[in-house]
């Protein structure tokens, strides 16, 4: 009986239950706690509030944007699997974020692109989460066409938005200015 149970459990594992398989753009790519030696300046008080939203990552994990930007800057990259220019913009943003410890990057794909987004996330393999955002999310950030990049500073203020993508040096400078201690 014990042997039968073991075989059944093993079979369940093979079927993809909790197989420990890496999920690109999913829960395992969410940022961990903010390092103790890193601190950020708050955004100017007159900066507009970032529209909050909840969505699912490409692996189905729920994410709430305000949980990310409560204590750290977040770079939002509005992207799509069918957009040829988007991967380059997304990859460059990820490279800049990697040079700025504690900053988070969240990709946002359209609601009808969930299927393509999983492949997109796997191909890019950026190590950052990718959310499937419904139309309201795109409208709330006035994004009419991907790619677009938005910088949100803690505790949730929109600092800048760049339709069509952002120059690398401009993003570097914008993030540098947000650090109080690093």
């Amino acid at each position: 009986m014990a042997l039968l149970l073991a075989v059944l459990l093993a079979a369940a594992g093979c079927a993809g239950g909790d197989s420990g398989e890496e999920s690109h753009g999913g829960a395992s790519d969410l940022p961990g706690p903010l390092p103790e030696d890193v601190a950020f300046r708050d955004a100017p008080a007159d900066a507009p509030a970032a529209p909050g939203f909840s969505a699912e990552l490409v692996d189905g994990t729920p994410v709430t944007a305000s949980d990310l930007w409560d204590d750290r800057p977040v770079v939002l990259v509005f992207t799509a699997s069918w957009c040829n220019r988007c991967a380059g913009v997304h990859r460059q943003a990820a490279e800049v974020v990697a040079e700025h410890e504690g900053v988070a990057l969240l990709g946002v794909v359209p609601g009808d692109d969930a299927e393509g987004a999983r492949e997109y996330a796997e191909d890019l393999d950026l190590g950052h989460p990718i959310a499937v955002g419904d139309e309201d999310v795109w409208l709330s950030y006035a994004v009419r066409e991907p790619p677009a990049v938005v910088l949100v500073a803690p505790p949730g203020k929109v600092l800048r938005g760049w339709p069509g993508g952002v120059d690398r040096q401009i993003l570097v400078r914008s993030l540098d200015e947000l650090f109080e201690r690093r």
């Binding site: 069918w82 795109w138 009419r144």
Partner: protein, 145 residues
């Protein structure tokens, strides 16, 4: 005489129709189309683009079909990426990012010859045009509405 010509035309059409059903012999045309998406989005001229809201259903990979007036599908495929063009070529905006339209080029070969066609996109009204407006020299411009 006119009636005889009409009758002969009908016979020819019937014969051509049969030939078409048989898989060969039907007259075909090339349709080179310039699909203009008037989204007036701010872009750098020349960059690759898709339709911006509310035309976001017009994007690379989205399906299209070319139909005869009776609704039969004559050709189909997927839309390519577009290129951003100055929305008002008479204006020198003096800046890099300008109001643009997104233009997609469709080159359809061996399209069965019909007097009129309808280009159907994933959403919106089909775009109608006449065979007589197709030219080998320059693409026929269709503006999405």
């Amino acid at each position: 005489m006119r009636r005889a010509q009409a009758a002969a035309g009908c016979l020819s059409a019937a014969l051509l129709g049969l030939a078409g059903c048989g898989g060969g012999g039907e007259d075909t045309v090339e349709a080179h189309l310039r699909l203009v998406v008037p989204d007036n989005n701010i872009r750098v001229e020349g960059v690759e683009c898709a339709g911006a809201r509310p035309f976001d259903y017009i994007r690379p990979g989205a399906s299209f079909s070319l139909e005869a007036p009776d609704g039969s599908v004559l050709a189909d495929g997927e839309l390519p990426a577009g290129r951003a063009e100055n929305a008002d070529p008479d204006v020198d905006w003096g800046v890099e990012r300008i109001p643009t339209v997104c233009v997609m080029e469709l080159e359809l070969e061996d399209v069965p010859d019909r007097p009129r066609y309808r280009l159907r996109l994933p959403e919106g009204r089909p775009l109608e045009f006449e065979r007589a407006h197709l030219s080998a020299d320059e693409p026929l411009q269709l503006i999405v509405r």
